[in-house]
């Protein structure tokens, strides 16, 4: 994500659409990736097309400097760029379930910040179930607070602070779960928990953090 610039490309799903069955169904995965995410990328590129001065910018750079984006394309960049960044993170931070529960430094940090892995699970679940309307719920590592936090953000708002690293993310837009779970978002969040990619979360937790801007 961090080096790609205009024209942005839809990243392929890192697994087959049915790879996360029965937790995430193949039909939802296909529509979510091939339609919703694709359209965000297309609309982001369309918004940027006539603005060559922005073509060298990464998605994070564009989103961190929205106030310097021409006002006529600012909503399109915020909404579609945010949708692109968050969905790209989402695909990379889920995986077929395995034996990999969090361990080592990440488990220690979860215990320090939330009391226990189970307390974290409950807190994340409450945030995801309780978030009103469309949005995203993140587990972030905050380098300033030296702590992990659960963050809920509306629409396609993104975690952009350079001292915060996203470790896990759950999409709570209805399109993420409506075909399989309809109004029962809690059931979806429980399925998401089964496919949370702890291996990659641990890698992201271990990597050096950029200096705060």
């Amino acid at each position: 994500m961090t080096t790609q610039t205009y024209p942005f490309e839809l990243p392929p799903l890192p697994f087959a659409p049915d790879a996360l069955e029965p937790h995430f169904d193949a039909r939802t995965m296909s529509i979510h990736h091939d339609e919703h995410h694709r359209v965000y990328v297309e609309r982001l590129n369309a918004a940027l097309k006539d603005h060559p001065g922005l073509h060298g910018r990464t998605i994070e750079n564009l989103l961190r400097n929205l106030n310097r984006i021409p006002s006529d394309i600012r909503p399109a960049v915020r909404n579609n760029g945010g949708g692109h960044l968050n969905h790209s993170l989402f695909w990379s931070l889920i995986a077929a379930p395995s034996q990999r529960a969090p361990a080592g430094p990440l488990l220690d940090a979860l215990t320090d910040s939330f009391g226990s892995l189970e307390s974290f699970r409950i807190k994340f679940r409450e945030a995801a179930v309780g978030h009103f309307a469309s949005g995203w719920v993140f587990l972030v590592a905050d380098a300033r607070k030296h702590a992990l936090e659960v963050l809920a953000l509306p629409d396609h708002h993104c975690v952009l602070a350079t001292h915060q690293t996203v470790l896990l993310v759950c999409d709570v837009w209805e399109h993420a779960y409506y075909l399989k779970h309809q109004n029962k978002r809690a059931d979806y969040v429980d399925c998401w928990w089964q496919v949370a990619n702890w291996q990659r979360a641990a890698r992201r937790f271990g990597r050096p953090v950029e200096a705060a801007a």
Partner: protein
Amino acid sequence: MADTATIESTVRHVLPPLPYATTALDPVVSANTIGFHYGKHHKGYVDTLNKLIVGTQYADLTLEKIIIATVDKADEVAIFNNAAQAWNHSFYWRSLRPKGGGEPPAALQHRIEASFGTLDACRKELATAATTQFGSGWAWLVLDAGELKVVKTGNAETPLTKGMKPLLTIDVWEHAYYLDHQNRRADYVNAVLDKLINWGFAAENLD
């Protein structure tokens, strides 16, 4: 009259009956969708509101008064969201009807032509508002300072709090169309305008 308090405390907001059969809007809005949308989402907002207002200053207010009293108050956001969603959904069901679409009643038609030029221009504005509302929300035909206008609102927001009089609405939360149309919101919106929109209801609201 020891029962008075009991009676008052049980006077709650109710889920209004659906104004048609659950199959009446098929296939644009299927019975399956209505089962969840009316039976779970709408009912959920009403039930949650009733729980939230017990023992509060809002317990005896009408839905409209609760909405006006709680809008933009950070501490009351849950009450606002559920009250506004309860109101918006009741209004949405009445904004649709089987064998809808077509031409508005003459009085409304004249108002539409005065404000938009043509009915087609009004429909296009509604379709644009409904397809471009980002995230969850609503598209509305409203009366604002004597003029008909199209506006869109996000999440639970409603023109009621902006001094406008709603005439009709289209729900564009994904739950309104996802089982029937998935990501194709425009298909849902255009079909609603062609086949379900209840111009008669909008005309009644003009009075």
